[in-house]
Symmetry: C2
Subunit: 113 residues, 2 copies
């Protein structure tokens, strides 16, 4: 496998899904997903928007009940129950220290995969 994304150090993918109003499942977008994506962009912009960082909104990442959810690639770190006020800590932890925010890690038992 020969990847062609060597220049991307971190890709933050944030669920901004919006379900129909009558859905039995909650939606990450209105629960904060959209604000979280904006907060990521702002936090990274404050650091001069390192060229190696991308921020992308996504459709449903699952599991919806414990959202808002996001994943950081290429390392594959999944977070759940994130709020916009957590974003600065996530960015600082990944970009500045190359570590993870343990308290926000998606619990293994909640994952659908």
């Amino acid at each position: 496998m020969k990847p062609n994304s060597h220049n991307i150090q971190y890709h933050f993918l944030i669920c901004g899904n919006m379900r129909p109003e009558d859905s039995p499942l909650p939606s990450c977008g209105p629960r904060g997903g959209s604000a979280i994506a904006d907060a990521f962009r702002a936090a990274i912009a404050r650091r001069g928007w390192p060229a190696r960082v991308k921020v992308t909104a996504t459709g449903c990442l699952t599991p919806c009940l414990i959202g808002p959810n996001l994943v950081v690639y290429p390392e594959g770190v999944w977070y759940s129950g994130v709020s916009p006020s957590d974003v600065e800590e996530i960015v600082a932890t990944h970009l500045d220290r190359g570590a993870v925010v343990e308290r926000l890690l998606m619990p293994k038992e909640a994952r659908l995969w």
Copy 2:
């Protein structure tokens, strides 16, 4: 860095972005992104939908001019100019052979990162 996504072998993230009609840039969604995501789900379903494979639609991945674009994580392989008819080959190449489809790789000079 301690990832918590060990069970995910492939995460296909496909741009389904839809820009305003007056945007000077094309949108991956109506150019095929949505059909591509559906084709991925169908191709993976035909294989029994391995639990370690996820398919997610995204907002803008850039670069828009050469879309539809998609990325496969965790390996970080970026494809551009993909059509729904390419999907079976992409899935077969990644899932069945652990390789990449060279002819669809996003050209380095087109990338914005």
